[in-house]
């Protein structure tokens, strides 16, 4: 396949960026999208140009590093991560626009690389269960109903890629934040910190400059791991419950 790529190039966080146009040829439908970008980069290096910087690591859809907006969609046209998107989803002669995540809370670092450290700070605000090493009781001391365990797992699958934020017209991080809150809050082990967790994480999310949620649902559509939109509703419920409880105290 022969393709025209229009790629966001930006020297660093302070520089202005612009779309640059490149041609790539000999692209096989079996290639992953990132392997196609590898081809472009090899070409660029040999012609003395700087290759396009992009985040990627595991290339098997689990580390959450890759983060491209492809033709306007976070992670491109299939419901998967960019690294698991294959060129068979495109046609010979296509023009493909490639941009970084666009969100106020995710500033561009260079080209297609953005700073997602806001997500780490949301987790640091309460996205954990306090269980210092050595303090754990026997694992079978606390059975967890399978339905709760499955609910926790479904939300724990979040890979922290940030597609939800990139897809949201408001740049909100509700899906990411709710996924962690729901994972931990449903478990008996997570119960003691149930209220502080939701209040602190939501406060941190707001402090990071993520937008508000208008339940557009783009986040859940873009999520490569299928975190459901209902996750946000559950978080809101948790937040209301915690707020009421705090008010009573």
């Amino acid at each position: 396949m022969k393709l025209t790529l229009r790629v966001w190039r930006q020297k660093n966080a302070d520089a202005d960026g612009a779309m640059s146009t490149y041609e790539v040829d000999g692209i096989s439908p079996d290639m992953s999208f990132l392997e196609m970008l590898d081809v472009l980069n090899e070409q660029l290096i040999l012609s003395g140009e700087e290759p396009v910087a992009f985040d990627h690591d595991c290339r098997e859809g689990i580390c959450g590093a890759c983060s491209l907006v492809i033709n306007g969609d976070a992670h491109g046209p299939e419901r998967t991560t960019t690294c698991q998107l294959h060129m068979r989803s495109f046609k010979d002669g296509d023009t493909i626009d490639i941009e970084p995540w666009r969100a106020a809370a995710f500033p561009v670092v260079k080209d297609l690389v953005v700073d997602r450290s806001a997500f780490d700070r949301i987790i640091q605000a309460g996205g954990y269960i306090t269980a210092p090493t050595g303090s754990a009781p026997e694992a079978h001391a606390t059975p967890v109903p399978k339905a709760d365990a499955d609910f926790a797992f479904e939300h724990a699958e979040c890979i922290g890629c940030g597609a939800c934020v990139a897809a949201c017209p408001n740049g909100a991080a509700m899906l990411f934040t709710s996924a962690k809150i729901n994972h931990l809050n449903v478990l008996p082990q997570g119960a003691p910190e149930r209220e502080t967790r939701v209040l602190d994480m939501v406060a941190q999310m707001d402090a990071e400059g993520f937008g508000g949620c208008t339940l557009t649902g783009e986040c859940a559509t873009a999520c490569p791991k299928g975190i459901p939109l209902m996750s946000i509703t559950s978080m809101n419920k948790e937040w209301l419950r915690a707020t009421r409880k705090a008010a009573k105290r």
Binding site: C58, T130, T133, S135, A136, T142, F153, E157, L187
Partner: protein, 649 residues
Amino acid sequence: MTSYLEYTTGEPVVDTKAPAGPINERWDKRRFEAKLVNPANRRKQTVIVVGTGLAGGSAGATLAEQGYRVVQFCYQDSPRRAHSIAAQGGINAAKNYRNDGDSIHRLFYDTVKGGDFRSRESNVHRLAQISVEIIDQCVAQGVPFAREYGGLLDTRSFGGVQVSRTFYARGQTGQQLLLGAYQALSRQIAAGNIEMHPRTEMLDLIVVDGRARGIVARDLITGKIDTYFADAVVLASGGYGNVFYLSTNAMNSNATAVWRAHRRGAYFANPCFTQIHPTCIPRTGDHQSKLTLMSESLRNDGRIWVPKAKGDTRQPNQIPEDERDYYLERIYPSFGNLVPRDIASRAAKNVCDEGRGVGPGGQGVYLDFADAIRRMGRKKVEEKYGNLFDMYERITAENPYEVPMRIYPAVHYTMGGLWVDYDLQTTIPGLFAVGEANFSDHGANRLGASALMQGLADGYFVLPATINDYLARHPHRDEVTDDHPVVQEVLAETEDRLNLLLSVDGDRTPDSFHRELGELMWEFCGMARTDEGLRKALDRIPQIREEFWRRIKVPGTGEELNQSLEKANRIVDYLELAELMCLDALHRSESCGGHFREESQTPDGEAARKDDEFGYAAAWEFTGTGEAPTLHKEDLVFEYVHPTQRSYA
């Protein structure tokens, strides 16, 4: 300069610090004898941890909980992305919840035997003891392991063992365990006990007066090279499988931290022990950048076969039952499709070499679920393996519910690594190595679901106990600063190396060298090795190295995010490490575990160990680039599990 092949044999390693006495009392004994640091003094001591995978993440969190000041690094943009996250299958623990005859002793026995008698008994036994605590710890953190309807934890059996001791979280066990460690780490970061440096890569080790006192690291965004000092340094930087270019490792996983430590005096043990995983998705062409593993839990229900006839190009569903060769079930009737990884991988290679491989290029075998779907129903199969099937379909555009999967072996894990004693300390005092970065407890072959177990055992339980002893005995009152001549020298060397890479301005890309080296290693130091092939590789590697420094092209500057520079710098180290791997493989003229020497096999083609000659761990000492290294042998003593030729028939 002497030839690289003319290595010398130095003093054997005699003291591994493992206590004497009954094996099940050794860990208690060591912990009791270890000196402690007064809680009030811990704040004054700094520990650097490099890496945030299972071993590094758990170590950093636990050390910070104990009250030490931790300074931690990862090259990823977040500590949550370390490659432990990609582990699929599960984590072993001798809980015996199934009442199926499991015990600490059995897990110990299985691991020593599975490692083909090339691991240290004391360490392996400790690992088995700690395994049960790991599960408790992870459950307390909220790791959503699979559960039964009664609310108790589910387990399954996993490659190479006959008990169900593997705990799992669908096909994402590594992800869930890592997020548990990452969350514990996050809690400590928020508490101000850990200074976390993401997107920062260790480029060298600072050794002052014979002790590890810090590291040189580069901020990958600004390009700034900085020094960090501490009372002890812990390397948790993972394995070196990416030396093969194509592997199941993450693209940026690399060997620089361990190799630089090796250059500074840490012995590197058993570098030739690499694990080739039998169930990966076959490559599709030259553009391939990495290989994807399909959890070997698939072998519990999938049946592996190839056509009986050579060059059979019919679609798999068109090949009748009696024209299929379920070769693992045929050759190993009692273990069948569950034989250990090295055996399954080599068997796949053999049938492909015979011309019976399937798929493009004949480099694949079928992993067929038709029987499992008939037996359990599609729904049950979906529940057990759904995400793996989806992943397979996304990559290959084939539906494994209808067409058998195609799989082929790929480099997956490295059992070799920095030599460590029972305390996980390297031969440089104050430098510790945990997880895949050390030469570890897996001997010549790692059993499935044991990497996660070892990473977390090292990080949560072993290192935090043993490092106390070192820190208590060596309270560094003297500050090391940038002015120290040793620090100046290490900094200058690092800067010079990067500047040289930027200035060559040749005509070949970093990837082109990496690919060339990887192909060479796969051919001559891969699944089967020969004296002749290894010599060829050893001949060729210095030539590639020479060419590299003449023709490498790295655009851009060092004062910015420069991914080509990062790659090129890692390749510098691969080009030396590869040479040591081949030399180690050449010197070990026996077959054991993942290391198969064609000259050393039984009449029926099985690996033939030579315990009298090679019953040791080979710890290599660096003497200079391209210079013959010095071999130090650690004799392996087996008091509890007596070496037998492995048999899985």
